[in-house]
Amino acid sequence: MDLTGLLAFNVLTGIATLALITIGLGVIYGMMRIINLAHGEFMMLGAYTAVTASTAGVNIWVSMLILPPLVVGLVGLVLERTIIRFLYGRMMDTMLATWGISLGLIGLITSIFGNVVKSVQMPVGSFAIGQYHVSAYSLVIIGVGVVVLSSLLLLLRKTRFGLILRATMQNPAMSASLGVRPAAVYMATFALGAALAGLAGGVLAPISGVSPGMGGAYIAKAFITVLGGGPAIIAGTGLAAGLFGFINEIVSFLSTPVIGDIALLASAIVLIRVLPQGITGRFLRRSS
């Protein structure tokens, strides 16, 4: 019984982690069909913001939850204005540009901080599920994941800004003729996606080592989950993260984390074969 509780908790944590990693990429890809290969590096910047702020003495929660999205959102805004906005509609070119941005960011961070692995203090302790002990930080991750997904859903469904976002995504030309500036919408969307990636990096910083190359470990999983999720941003991310996170955690528990990753990849292959448009390509097609 305790074991089931432990496993369920681990699964929820895994799903939340995957959802947080993916949502930033999902917003950018879902809205603008831009393949942002610098997504992992946005997360890395968020993690470095958290490390720098917490070592400078800023409160740990502020430096993990508030500063990274602000900083990385700003970075995303600048990059969008200077590089990305000239490349809308050109998929290969945006891939190349964002790949170059990712290499540039890695090089920049390496020259500033060095090619060493830094760490952030774990801010909370542990609690017990029956006779098993788990880190309470997993609760933080689950909490942040739920808050992010639900507030994004509210943003898209209930606010005027969300309405404009969805309209521009569906039909940019018609929205333009109704008085919306697509360029401004794209700028806001890219900044939002970058901010979400920064938040994910900041939240995950205490778990993994923070190094210039850490983004590479996340980008593959983020892309797989986005493509597995399908066109609907939030429902797709949630469902795909749910499916893959579940499989990953269960298999990791039964064997090793490496086999767990293999299981995630294998299930992604099966999913794409069965549902080429992703989960929300077939089910829940009208959700956001």
């Binding site: 090619n115 542990s126 609690f127 880190s135 778990i207 080592g209």
Partner: protein, 414 residues
């Protein structure tokens, strides 16, 4: 462009003679110069996953070479250090190894950190007969006439960790290790020592060097309910295990013994709640208190700053490896590989920061002291001292005096 065939032939002959002269020239002129420096090559990871450990070893190398030159060099010649940062990349190890041997033409190589890097470059040095000192503690068993290993081996350290664990913690052991040759062989040694001591191994899990998330592992360990965890995890990513272990509240529940913990800056960058109580066994700790140990720490701090408090066996073994080589060169009166090897095989001994370090002629490993310690409030608490530990990993199977052509790594029979 017509030339008389006669003058073309002359030009060809002259050109060939000039080319031969250019090739031979350096060899002729070199032997004429006596104050030419002795070249010491160094291959260590200053950056990357092993960078935390490697940068101190690089500093220890510079310190040792500086000391030798301050005392007038070797055989009246200065020692020139040619060091390359291999950035925790095996590809760079092999690339720079070739460069040191064929381009820089060094007289000795002191380097290698992970066992993977050692095995990648060892054949290069064997082929070119370049003397190679491997100064990192490792899984033991290398038996190669061209190689001298000064780091501690499982027979000198891991057996003491297992002995302490079985006596104080219980009999059920859970082993976690890095997924490469060091991790696998060390896990085999742990299994052997545990079984010899009457214990049992519940499970052995391996993790590639880039794994950072150990939450499912921690759950698995709790489910298996062992009396202790023995860890051979390596590198900056695996350090996350100890952080996550402490965060999950497991520190007070299941004790941990580790073979590669505290060799970097763990005690300074991690908080005491994470590091306290982890049992380790190495050839050196920075607070041994002996005159030699203090002199080494003070000397390094004088050169690199007072914040250098996290010196460990990796650094002292690097220093001792260079000093052993220097002693052998003085004894042999030459830097030629064959003569220095013969000198080393007479059983050279030095007084290093960790105590007396003697090169065992048959195994090409060192007989040295070992200490059992655990962190307590960011300071090492030395629990036991084991003087003059013999490198008995190969159990006598490695005898390079009797069989100098041996060239393999012996593994434990489990």
């Amino acid at each position: 462009m017509t030339m008389e065939s006669g003058s073309r032939r002359k030009a060809l002959k002259f050109g060939a003679a000039a080319a031969v002269g250019a090739l031979v020239g350096p060899y002729v002129t070199r032997s004429a110069s006596a104050a030419e420096p002795i070249k010491l090559g160094s291959l260590l990871d200053g950056t990357g996953a092993l960078g935390i450990e490697g940068r101190r070893m690089i500093q220890a190398t510079e310190f040792a070479v500086g000391q030798i030159n301050d005392h007038g060099g070797l055989l009246g010649r200065p020692v020139k250090l040619i060091a390359y940062d291999t950035q925790s990349s095996i590809q760079l190890y092999t690339q720079y190894a070739q460069q040191l041997v064929f381009q820089d033409k060094v007289d000795v190589i002191q380097g290698g950190i992970t066992s993977a890097s050692r095995e990648a470059i060892r054949p290069i040095f064997d082929r070119s007969k370049t003397l190679f000192f491997y100064n990192t503690q490792y899984e033991g068993g290398v038996c190669d006439r061209n190689v001298f290993c000064t780091g501690t081996t499982p027979a000198q350290t891991v057996d003491h960790i297992v002995e302490y664990a079985l006596k104080n913690w219980g009999k059920k052991v859970y082993i976690i290790a890095a997924d490469y040759n060091y991790g696998h062989i060390t896990a085999s040694w742990m299994t052997k020592f545990v079984k010899d001591g009457g214990g049992s191994v519940v499970s052995t899990d391996f993790f590639p060097l880039d794994v950072t998330n150990f939450s499912s592992t921690i759950s698995r360990i709790q489910e298996a309910k062992p009396d202790m965890v023995l860890s051979a995890l390596v590198g900056a990513n695996h350090v996350g295990f100890y952080r996550q272990w402490a965060a999950a509240g497991m520190k007070s529940k299941i004790p941990v013994g580790a073979t590669v913990f505290g060799l970097g800056d763990e005690l300074t960058t991690m908080d005491a709640a994470t590091t306290d109580g982890i049992i380790t066994c190495f050839g050196f700790y920075n607070n041994l208190g002996t005159p030699n140990a203090n002199a080494f720490v003070k000397g390094m701090q004088a050169k690199y700053g007072p914040s250098l408090t996290d010196l460990g066996e990796l650094d002292t073994a690097t220093y001792e490896g260079i000093m052993l080589w220097a002693e052998a060169v003085k004894k042999a009166g030459s830097v030629e590989q064959a003569k220095v090897v013969t000198a080393l095989e007479t059983g050279i001994s030095i007084e290093g920061p960790s105590g007396t370090v003697k090169m065992d002629p048959a195994t090409h490993h060192t007989i040295r002291n070992a200490y059992l310690a655990r962190p307590k409030n960011r300071v090492w608490e030395i629990l036991q001292t084991f003087p003059n530990q013999f490198p008995s990993d190969t159990g006598g199977a490695c005898d390079l005096i009797k069989s100098p052509r041996t060239n393999k790594q012996f593994m434990p029979q489990v």
